[in-house]
């Protein structure tokens, strides 16, 4: 087995956090879910185009629209939080700033998921 660890990494002795594989896998799983949901997006956008807001609400209330929409919201903001984490880890070298940004973006993403899903549920029970 090839040893890919640098001398510095060995000296620091921090080791692996064992969370990289899960991050990588979830990024791909959410990507596939989003890609499948985009097929529904084409149908959905077509069905709401040139419709009045009240008609759009009626269309959104249908479970076959509300459920894919919620799936799309959850997987896309989860996917975005994972992706933003990678970008920040690559370009923000100040550790305080790096982890501050990552945590802020994760909290923001999860709050957005929560608020969006509640909005869709609110529509459905209207």
């Amino acid at each position: 087995m090839l040893d890919f660890r640098t001398d510095l990494a060995k000296a620091k002795g921090n080791g692996s956090a064992k969370s990289g594989m899960h991050h990588w896998l979830m990024q791909r799983i959410t990507a596939v879910i989003i890609a499948l949901c985009v097929i529904w997006v084409f149908y959905f956008v077509h069905s709401i185009s040139k419709k009045s807001p009240s008609d759009i609400v009626l269309i959104l209330q249908k479970p076959y629209n509300a459920i894919p929409l919620m799936m799309l919201i959850i997987s896309s903001f989860y996917h975005a939080a994972l992706g933003m984490q990678v970008v920040i880890e690559d370009y923000v070298s100040n550790l305080c700033m790096r982890y501050g940004l990552i945590i802020s973006i994760k909290i923001f993403s999860y709050v957005t998921i929560l608020a969006s899903v509640s909005a869709v549920v609110y529509l459905m029970v209207l």
Binding site: R28, A31, V32, I34, A35, V38, F42, V45, H46, S49, P53, S54, V57, I73, S76, F77, A80, G83, M84, V87, D90, S93, F108, T112, A115, S116, A119, Y122, L123
Partner: protein, 138 residues
């Protein structure tokens, strides 16, 4: 670059650390289909996060304000329209290039000519999908 152990000799260590090259060195490379599409994937990814966050909170406000027509009417704003066009382009590019990434993850398409080809396919297909989306679907 010479041996890594020779670099520090005669130069102040902190000065060296401050002048250490920082990735990515975008400006010194010749633009290639591989590098341009790679950075576009990141750029569109960040853009999609920002754009869809705005759309999500816009719709949340619209729904929880009991369907305020003023909030809904913002869709007719010219800048919002332009933003939606750019966002859709970014979405379909990121989607197509993301599928390309998934093929790489499965172990396909690593040879340089195939990588270049699939890159151009992504450019063409994402442009076509954007046009179809606005002309046919919307």
């Amino acid at each position: 670059m010479s041996n890594i152990n020779d670099i520090g000799s005669g130069i102040d260590a902190s000065d060296l650390r401050a002048r250490r090259p920082i990735s990515p060195h975008l400006s010194i490379y010749k633009k290639q289909i591989s590098s341009v599409l790679s950075i576009l994937h990141r750029l569109t990814g960040v853009g999609l996060f920002v754009g869809f966050s705005v759309i999500a909170w816009w719709m949340i406000c619209w729904i929880f304000s009991k369907f305020d027509p003023q909030i809904y009417g913002m869709i007719n704003n010219l800048i919002v329209r332009l933003g939606l066009y750019v966002l859709s382009m970014a979405l379909f590019y990121h989607l197509c290039n993301g599928i390309r990434h998934l093929f790489w993850d499965m172990g396909y398409g690593y040879s340089v000519p195939v990588m270049r080809q699939s890159g151009w396919i992504v450019v063409v297909v994402s442009t076509l999908v954007t046009i179809v989306f606005w002309v046919v679907v919307c």
